[in-house]
Symmetry: C2
Subunit: 145 residues, 2 copies
């Protein structure tokens, strides 16, 4: 057994149909690549990584070559300090070619949020959540109690 915390993700891998298209999309959103090799692109986040990887090799790597992988049941959210920043990020995503799913609007839980899909259908939420502290590099802490 390990003494590493259970609550963690080391690497978030998004399966993509066209790696060059996806690299361009994330570059247009400002993502900076840390490494690229053998059909995989890695992005350093705070303490963890994101990768873009072909859908076919991803299915094979998952132990099910030929499987048709599905999209949408995972949402990746980026929170911002205010609603203007959400609007700006949403506009930037649409400029980069994202598919709008829901224009940013006030939510029932007292926040503000919009959704878009990346070129493959991976779903991103852009949100302002006044209830969750967000530090200067974007680290958040769930309020407890």
């Amino acid at each position: 057994m390990t003494d590493l915390p259970a609550n963690r993700v080391t690497l978030l891998t998004l399966g993509v149909a066209h790696l060059s298209r996806s690299r361009s999309f994330y570059a247009a959103l400002g993502w900076e690549e840390a490494a690229a090799l053998d059909g995989v692109v890695f992005y350093q986040m705070d303490g963890m990584a994101m990768a873009l990887f072909g859908l076919e090799p991803l299915a094979a790597d998952q132990g099910r070559p030929g499987a048709e992988l599905g999209f949408g049941a995972v949402t990746l959210a980026q929170n911002f300090h205010d609603t203007d920043a959400v609007d700006a990020a949403y506009a930037r995503a649409l400029d980069a070619g994202a598919t709008p799913l829901k224009d940013p609007e006030a939510t029932f839980w007292g926040g503000y949020s919009g959704y878009y899909a990346d070129p493959d259908g991976h779903v991103w939420e852009l949100a302002h959540n006044p209830h969750w502290p967000l530090d200067e590099i974007g680290r958040t802490t769930i309020p407890v109690g």
Copy 2:
């Protein structure tokens, strides 16, 4: 515009068919809940959060009520300090009811990895990557250059 880094995820939301089933599954893996309310469960990770949320309300929240959301095109990986820890975590996941996709084995890139699916089909990889530093709380840094 914002000066927050582009390379980040604040909240990772997994759509689930049965919230109680999924809570039990992640509890069996050792995940500790930070908050639970209104059909959503939140887990604190290092600087970010994970949530479990019903598939139907997730689709509605994404701006497409009634949409059938798909699984598998996102892999969530947890890295460990050695292969024994990978084996132990994999065994624990199967004990908790995970569906095995690929038993842990040596990989072509010099690591060791296995895959399982959670009760809904969300795909987790358990890996040992000797090339990526992993600190005592599981934070990783992509080697550059």
